[in-house]
């Protein structure tokens, strides 16, 4: 089965030179939710941007459905890969529906303009992201949680098969953190694959099909949450002040909390 998005031996250096991504290989399959974990500075966000095609790797290739990403035009890429960014450079003063319609850019022909199909896609996207009633609101009038969902809606409007999400819960309160991840897990269905970069280990445990652990730009572990969220795997990366536990049955998933040892 061809991966919907795959990165092969990726290396990326920032000017310095600072090696931010060191020989990392990732393969996304349709229908799965992959979470990339790692401490600050481990290269998670950089990896996401390389996979998205926003940064060109120094070595290695990114391919989408078997074809190299570099061979695809920008519009073609936007039809296949959608990004939910952590934050925007500036919050536009448009309405929510206007903003989400921006996601249709790659699918709207410059000569024919928006069609009924595009309005429908925007409607579906808003519903799927749980912000169905907010079309007419200004982007600047939304709460943090709503804003995050609108960003997801815009990515959904792109009707892309790959969703790359960068730190979606960074500024959300507890309820919304779970809600957003629940949404993302739901979105990872037969046609879509989702990759989420986060620092939240427990959300990964709860929702991920697969977890990748990055440290210092290298991929140090990968597998089901059960396999990765163990002391012998996490301690070398995060340090000793961790307490491991397991949720009650029938859930039974592992959780990790930072706890200062006496």
């Amino acid at each position: 089965m061809v991966s919907s998005l795959a990165g092969e031996s990726l290396v990326f250096d920032y000017p310095g030179p600072v090696r931010a991504v060191d020989d990392v290989s990732v393969a996304l399959r349709p229908g799965e939710l992959v979470v990339v974990l790692g401490p600050n500075g481990s290269g998670k966000s950089t990896l996401l941007r390389v996979l998205a095609g926003l940064l060109a790797p120094a070595r290695g290739t990114v391919s989408c459905d078997g074809r190299p990403l570099a061979s695809l035009g920008l519009r073609e890429r936007a039809r296949r890969i959608a990004i939910v960014p952590q934050s925007l450079a500036a919050l536009p003063e448009t309405s929510v529906s206007s903003f989400v319609t921006g996601g249709r850019y790659a699918r709207i022909s410059p000569w024919r303009g928006p069609q009924a199909r595009d309005a429908r896609a925007v409607g579906y996207a808003l519903e799927a992201a749980g912000v169905g009633g907010l079309e007419a609101r200004r982007m600047t009038d939304l709460s943090g949680g709503q804003r995050q969902r609108v960003l997801v809606a815009r990515a959904l409007a792109q009707e892309a098969e790959v969703l790359l999400v960068d730190e979606p819960t960074a500024s959300l309160d507890l309820e919304h953190q779970v809600r957003v991840f629940e949404l993302l897990a739901r979105l990872a269905d037969h046609e879509r694959s989702v990759l989420v970069v986060t620092h939240d280990v427990n959300l990964a445990s709860q929702f991920a099909d697969r977890v990748l652990l990055l440290a210092g730009g290298r991929l140090v572990a990968g597998g089901a949450p059960d396999e990765v969220l163990r002391r012998e795997v996490l301690e070398p990366v995060y340090g000793p002040h961790l307490h491991f536990g397991r949720m009650d049955p029938p859930d039974g998933r592992p959780f990790v909390i930072p706890w200062l040892r006496a």
Binding site: R49, A52, L54, L74, R75, R77, A78, R79, I81, A82, I83, P85, L88, A89, A90, L91, P92, E93, T94, S95, S97, S98, G102, G103, Y105, A106, P110, A136, Q158
Partner: protein, 357 residues
């Protein structure tokens, strides 16, 4: 497209401007240093000038034509400068960007001055359009100067998430100083011909008097060329407001948008400068006023700005002629008097935003 109140306001603004334009043009045609002309003669004279019908007696016909070209040039220059400013403000995501603040009109001025000195063989002339090569070379060099200025500013201000406003303004200030310095150097070198210095100085004041049909053609070409860029950048500029990476992830060809905006704004600014010298603040003030009414959507901004610019410059130009009679001010001076305080006001009002630098 936006819905609701802004859309209504946009429509009202568009209608208002379209309705205001013809009477303003008429007012401009009627007033002049030899007094008011009646509508009948104006009509006959204009029809004859545009190629049909019987002309008025020699002098009267010439006067009507002078006013006609002046009015058309004023409207065209106002439109071109406003469009240039709107494009630059969208590209740099900053309301303080404009062709004069960023040194674009200065660059066009320098290009035009160098061309004039070269083509005129050192003779001190403002653009004397007599169908010779000058009417092609001067606007061309003005365009090169304008494009060079904008490219330099883009290079230095950087293209990343947020364009740094201080870098933008400082680059513009630096560029304007360099250009003023070079023009001063030219004046100093040509000191013996101090008429040349005087001509160069006159550039910085601008002129809308005694324009010819050639000037109208040049500004029309510049304006139309810039307008053809609009459909390819209008939505894209909206999408660019959230950052360049974000826009690219949506499929926007950000490099292409940048080049098109630079080309479009340079063409418009260069044509305006080649035809009327340096006129400041129109490109800054007009898009800002349009944005206050119709919001930030570039699809309306890029179309309403030229319309508003034409109305604005016609109004200010007619106004100062009506107030000052024969002792009229050069348009550059007049706009500095009006636009300067406005710019200050804008800086103060945006201070809250600017505090987050």
């Amino acid at each position: 497209m936006s819905t609701g109140a802004p859309a209504r306001r946009t429509l009202l603004l568009a209608l208002g401007l379209l309705v205001a334009l013809p009477p303003l043009a008429l007012l401009s045609l009627r007033t002049g240093s030899t007094g008011s002309l009646d509508l009948a003669s104006l009509g006959r004279g204009c029809r004859a000038a545009l190629g049909g019908g019987e002309p008025l007696p020699r002098t009267a016909q010439m006067i009507v034509e002078l006013r006609l070209w002046r009015t058309l040039t004023t409207a065209g220059v106002g439109a071109a400068l406003a469009l240039s400013g709107a494009m630059l403000q969208g590209l740099f995501r900053n309301a303080l960007a404009s062709p004069s603040v960023l040194g674009v009109t200065g660059g066009a001025s320098l290009g035009a001055t160098l061309a004039i000195l070269a083509v005129g063989g050192g003779a001190p002339l403002l653009l004397a359009v007599d169908g010779s090569r000058a009417s092609v070379i001067v606007p061309l060099c003005a365009f090169l100067g304008a494009a060079a200025a904008v490219s330099l500013v883009t290079l230095l201000a950087g293209a990343g998430g947020r364009i740094s406003a201080p870098t933008l303004l400082l680059t513009g200030i630096a560029l304007n100083s360099v250009i003023a310095g070079v023009l001063a150097l030219l004046s100093a070198l040509a000191l013996r011909d101090w008429e040349v210095s005087r001509a160069i100085l006159s550039w910085s004041f601008g002129t809308l008097e005694d324009r010819s049909v050639e000037h109208v053609k040049i500004i029309a070409v510049g304006l139309v060329a810039a307008l053809t860029v609009v459909p390819f950048v209008a939505w894209e500029l909206d999408l660019l407001q959230t950052g360049e990476d974000d826009a690219r992830s949506l499929g926007v060809h950000t490099a292409r948008v940048r080049v098109l905006c630079i080309a479009g704004s340079s063409l418009a600014a260069a044509a305006a400068v080649a035809v009327a010298g340096q006129i400041a603040f129109v490109g800054l003030v007009v898009p800002h006023l349009v944005r206050l009414v119709s919001g930030r959507g570039h699809r309306s901004l890029l179309l309403l700005s030229p319309l508003a610019g034409a109305v604005f410059l016609l109004l200010v130009e007619w106004g100062q002629r009506a107030l000052l009679g024969e002792r009229t001010l050069p348009p550059g001076v007049m706009m500095s008097l009006v636009g300067g305080p406005f710019f200050l006001g804008m800086l103060l009002w945006q201070r809250r935003e600017l505090d987050t630098w």
